[in-house]
Amino acid sequence: METASAKKTTKKDHRKAILEGYKNHVLEYGSAPKSVFKFAKDLKMKEEEFYTYFTSFDSIKSAIWVEIFDETILQAESQEIFKEYSAREKFLSFLFTWIEELKKNRSYLLSLYESKSKTSMTLPKEAAEFKDKFKDFANEIILEGKETEEIASRPIISDRYDEALWFQTWFVFRYWLDDRSPRFEKTDAAIEKSVNLAFDLMGKSALDSFLDFAKFLYQSK
């Protein structure tokens, strides 16, 4: 593997080499390495050196998710127009960019997650850190949406909006894993339509007016 010069390189590159090495292993053998010892040896690295960066294979997988997320945010925010987007558009832009980043790692993700995609919507434990970071991002968007009144503040429910967006993001991931359309066009359509639905549901609607009215009638009785 491409880590012959690992010794001379800096700390950062070591970390990178481990991430890359892990991905390559999954790609070539279709599964995680047998042991940290064997894996470190293949990378011409001592086992204890490995532990200065990661504690287990799960923490590598987790780091890969986070890396993809960070890159997505970087890419999305590098578009000048991103600042001008409404909350809905920001979230759309995030998902479209995210899918592009996932695409770069499609084979890796498929070999890890495809078999499970049909049976469960449950979250693999290595995606937990990504989820936390995502929720921070989602909450920023939601806050902004509330300020611009794009998103309605509702008691109790609106505290769970970040969960809803996360659920949706995971749905998009599952959809994309199974997508066989050229250039993943169907995933694009799925993102567009599901985000519109989500934001329409979160936005002010007839239901709010109805609840308000019902409350009024009840209180003024």
Binding site: I81, L92, F96
Partner: protein, 439 residues
């Protein structure tokens, strides 16, 4: 710029949801029939117009939420005015102008996919909001080096959903068009092929260039220039054609001379395509034409082009010969060739359908039987509608299990109905030129 197009809320995602959408429309239509008959018991004089209006509203609502090819079909049905009761027409005509737009991030994404650049990087200016909606895409206005451009972007996944949408529409087409299943399948293949072609933007650019070059010599026509380097499978960039849609233009009270001029340009455009190029812009709905200052007719959108096979051409246009209506033997032969009647028909059916088609042809061929025809003549259109209604409600016609007419006729007929309707809308009187061999 027109006001911001209203963004639509939830769009059904999966096939199942789309099917559900159609089913709910079906249920509503069923409900409307119930209502109709209930009302009719109380008030026997009530006519079917109200029922049709209720049905049209519900069906249109379902179709417009589906976007894509279903919307296209709504358009097609609104074209064939003579096939549909009047109340459906107005509702469906709406489909020609409005569909909910794509979000801007998706527009950006589409550009990045095909050019590796954002719209801002490619153009000097680019509107964030679509200025116009097309049936399977939307149009943004852009500028580059001082030139105004129209950029058409296709909705993702449309090409994929054509076939499944057609399957979903089938039961409705059966009901609305009063066709039986066999008859419908006879034409569905043709429709599917054309719809798939429309999603191929590379083909569209190529055809637009060909036809606009071939028709460049016709006076008072205006074609946009197409830019290959700014177009791809899902994006077409062309010159912006400034002007008014026919309806808006008519509201400005143009002179009769101007109306005739535009009408004549339209006629000449189709005459040249049909008789010389043998391929025709088969989508003459009002949204594809723009009247410019100085009474020039701008033509946009070559998504739907029908190539007319030679043998079909000969038979079909031989029908417009006036003396043919007198020469029984020759007429019968053409009816056989065009699959209007076949050996599977009984003698009674043969006689009946010959009569029906003869009547249709003598009516629809009327503009060709004279040198100049006034399309402002509403009575002529009234007659066509009446004939259409009468035939559609005739038991003999509905009972027939045969598909009638060659599949090629579908788009050629549609084209001519479209032209007639446009000319009627224009209130124009035109020289109805004929090819030399029919003089």
């Amino acid at each position: 710029m027109p006001e911001k197009l209203k963004e639509q809320g939830a769009i059904p995602i999966t096939k199942v949801q789309r099917a559900a959408k159609f089913i709910s429309a079906g249920a509503k239509v069923g409900g409307n029939y119930m209502k109709h008959y209930a009302k009719k018991m109380v008030n026997p004089s009530m006519d079917k117009e109200e029922l049709h209006l209720n049905n049209a509203t519900d069906i249109y609502k379902s179709l417009s939420e589906l976007k894509g090819s279903a919307l296209k079909i709504a358009q097609m049905m609104s074209m064939d005015k003579n096939l549909l009761p009047r109340a459906y027409q107005d509702k469906f005509t709406m489909a020609q102008y409005s569909a909910p737009p794509l979000s801007y991030p998706l527009v950006v994404k589409t550009f990045q996919k095909y050019f590796g650049k954002t719209p801002e990087q490619m153009f000097d200016t680019f509107t964030r909001i679509a200025v116009n909606a097309a049936s399977i895409g939307q149009v943004h206005k852009a500028t580059q080096n001082g030139k105004e451009l129209a950029v058409k972007i296709q909705y993702p996944g449309v090409a994929d959903s054509v076939s499944s949408d057609l399957k979903l529409v089938r039961p409705f087409a059966l009901r609305l068009l009063n066709m039986n299943e066999r008859e419908l399948d006879h034409y569905m293949g043709e429709v599917e092929e054309k719809l798939l072609e429309e999603t191929d933007y590379i083909l569209e650019v190529q055809r637009s260039r060909e036809i606009s070059e071939e028709c460049g010599h016709i006076p008072n026509l205006k074609f946009p220039k197409y830019y290959n380097e700014l177009s791809s499978e899902r994006i077409i960039t062309m010159d912006w054609i400034e002007g008014k849609h026919i309806k808006e233009w008519m509201d400005t009270n143009p002179t009769q001379k101007a109306k005739n001029k535009i009408g004549q340009a339209l006629w000449d455009f189709y005459h040249h395509q049909v008789h010389h190029l043998k391929q025709v812009h088969a989508d003459p709905h009002p949204g594809n034409f723009i009247v410019q200052d100085g009474d020039q007719l701008g033509i946009i959108d070559f998504g739907c082009v029908k190539v007319i096979p030679e043998d079909f051409y000969q038979g079909y246009f031989a029908l417009i010969k006036k003396e043919l209506l007198i020469n029984e033997d020759e007429l019968n032969q053409i009816f056989y060739d065009l699959e209007f009647i076949s050996d599977k028909d009984t003698e009674i059916e043969k006689a009946y359908f010959k009569g029906v088609f003869k009547e249709m042809i003598s009516l629809l061929g009327k503009p060709f039987h004279v040198d100049k025809f006034d399309f402002a003549d509403n009575q002529f259109f009234e007659q066509i509608f009446q004939l259409g209604d009468r035939i559609a409600n005739d038991k003999m016609f509905r009972k027939s299990r045969q598909a009638r007419g060659s599949r090629h006729g579908l788009y050629v007929n549609r084209t001519y109905f479209g032209i007639y309707n446009l000319l009627n809308q224009l209130q124009a009187e035109v020289d109805t030129t004929k090819p030399d061999w029919l003089q």
